[in-house]
């Protein structure tokens, strides 16, 4: 239905089932970025000449597009970053500096992507603070029974994925945010797998911060957004110093520019941001609710197809999953599965998915992960299933094999 909007899918005919890693780009996004470089390229916020005024207008208009997309209260609350990882590092530095003292706790889930774990480890080390973790049920869901007990009076920051990149679990973030706010704790939501996939409304969620990446929702790589409530951003010191984030500068000191520029030092990824806004417009034209529904349909087809293969073991499938499934096979390693699938022009991811602690919880060294988005067709999943049957045929024990010295 939507595949024809995506040139790469036409050229390569790949069954692209690695959307959790990155998504393909519609022609309109590519066109908008080329148009910028062809007709409007100039640096932003600085020049008086027409091109700079035009470039700045496009860039700031993109900010408005993003603001409306997530229903943020003001454009000053939208900060452009190079991606989710940069956004979280910004928060671990600036918000961490503001809030964390020795002995404080930062509360995370044990199944976060390394980008929502390692920056907090670095902060904890810097500030002699401690990382604590939600409990998980055996279904890889946050244990709601022990939830309240985790929110002690030493917890100063909570950071959590909306949707797990390895398991597809949709966490009960609204509930957690409500509970956190009763205890005056700010909550950061990692929306890398959810923004552009399901409706995300920061007023409704009332999250204090939301981070995500453009390239996982049909936008270009090297773009992302950090949304933060004004009252937090105003209190936070800048992350990076440089041009555009200052007001007055002497040799000894500088004063800061107002929001959002305080957190946007240096020349931004102007073309990227314009591409990101074009991606949002493209998705909104289809409708995020429709995108959610179509992705859900593909996910359920993927899940039921995999469940019919008795040689496949699924991991982390629970009450609410969206778009992503991890699986293993007893007789074949994820590398070999992914390799054979590649021979069938099916793209999946094999490894630890930047979630080594989760692999440890699942007691597997690695999994194969398939992830769908609205432009996948059922035939992509059929190709995956046929490929997996081929993997099984390649690796299954053959009764006519001779016995040997060692072996499995």
């Amino acid at each position: 239905m939507y595949k024809s909007d995506f040139p790469l899918l036409q050229y390569t005919n790949v069954a692209w089932l690695d959307n959790a890693a990155t998504t393909q780009k519609p022609q309109v996004v590519l066109d908008k970025m080329t148009e910028f470089y062809t007709h409007y390229n100039a640096n932003v916020h600085r020049g008086l000449y027409t091109l700079s005024v035009q470039a700045t207008a496009l860039y700031e208009s993109a900010r408005g597009t993003v603001q409306a997309f997530i229903h943020a209260g003001a454009p000053e609350e939208i900060i452009f970053t190079s991606g989710t990882t940069a956004g979280i590092n910004l928060l671990a530095t600036s918000l961490g500096e503001l809030l964390i003292k020795p002995g404080d706790e930062i509360l995370l889930s044990p199944m976060e992507h390394h980008s929502n774990l390692v920056p907090w480890q670095l902060l904890a080390k810097r500030k002699q603070a401690k990382l604590t973790f939600f409990d998980l049920t055996s279904d890889t869901e946050i244990d709601l029974n022990t939830l309240a007990g985790k929110i002690t009076d030493r917890v100063k920051i909570i950071s959590l994925a909306h949707i797990s990149n390895a398991a597809g679990t949709v966490h009960p973030i609204k509930q957690i945010i409500e509970l956190a706010h009763k205890n005056h704790i700010p909550v950061i939501i990692d929306g890398a797998q959810s923004v552009g996939h399901v409706p995300v409304n920061v007023q409704e969620l009332d999250c204090d911060f939301l981070v995500w990446s453009g390239h996982k929702m049909c936008g270009p790589t090297g773009t992302g957004v950090l949304y933060g409530k004004k009252r937090w951003l105003e209190q936070m010191e800048p992350w990076q110093g440089g041009g555009d984030m200052i007001k007055e500068v002497t040799l000894e000191q500088a004063t800061w520019n107002e929001l959002p520029y305080k957190f946007e030092a240096g020349t931004p990824n102007i073309a990227g941001v314009i591409g990101l806004a074009a991606a949002i417009e493209y998705l909104e034209k289809i409708g995020i609710k429709k995108i959610e529904r179509v992705t859900s349909e593909r996910y359920h087809y993927l899940l039921t197809s995999l469940q019919q293969l008795d040689f496949i073991k699924l991991h982390g499938v629970n009450k609410i999953n969206h778009g992503i499934v991890s699986f293993t096979m007893d007789i074949a390693h994820p590398h070999d599965i992914a390799q054979i699938l590649d021979e069938h022009n099916v793209a999946v991811r094999a490894g630890h998915h930047c979630c080594q602690p989760l692999m440890h919880i699942w007691q597997v060294p690695a999994t194969t992960r398939a992830s769908v988005y609205f432009y996948n067709e059922p035939e992509d999943i059929d190709k995956l299933i046929n490929g997996l049957k081929k993997v099984y045929d390649t690796f299954r024990p053959h009764p006519e094999s001779l016995p040997c010295k060692g072996g499995r």
């Binding site: 390693h333 590398h335 390799q339 630890h352 692999m359 060692g406």
Partner: protein
């Protein structure tokens, strides 16, 4: 790509010299945390200074297991200095396949164990 030609599959399903030997002169374990592949090699060197017994244990993908199996057989009869100096080309020739950069690491893991065999873990 005929990565899964008969030789690789055969060595994966029925690896040679599988199982650590008793009376090993040296034992060494190498692990790739990215994928969990892990192999331990044990070798015995006789009084002529030559490897006369080899055994390995562990688990990994088809490429790393086949590499370990072929390597375990190939180092028999070599001296310790010869074993420690084995290079990437040696294992690639044993495997006899084209490997992309992503899978090269798989093939080299057992070689790492063998070329560091006399180092303490």
């Amino acid at each position: 790509m005929d990565l899964y030609q008969e030789q690789i599959l055969e060595h994966y399903k029925h690896p040679q010299n599988f199982g650590l030997i008793k009376n090993a002169t040296y034992t060494r374990k190498e692990l790739n945390p990215t994928c969990g592949d892990s192999f331990t090699f044990s070798i015995h060197i006789n009084d002529k200074g030559v490897v006369d017994e080899v055994g390995f244990a562990g688990e990994g993908c088809a490429v790393s297991t086949a590499s370990a199996s072929l390597l375990s057989e190939a180092i028999k009869g070599k001296t310790l200095p010869e074993v420690l100096n084995l290079k990437t080309e040696f294992i690639l020739e044993l495997l006899h396949i084209e490997l992309g950069p992503a899978r090269l690491k798989c093939a080299l893991l057992p070689l790492q164990a063998v070329t560091r065999i006399n180092q303490s873990s």
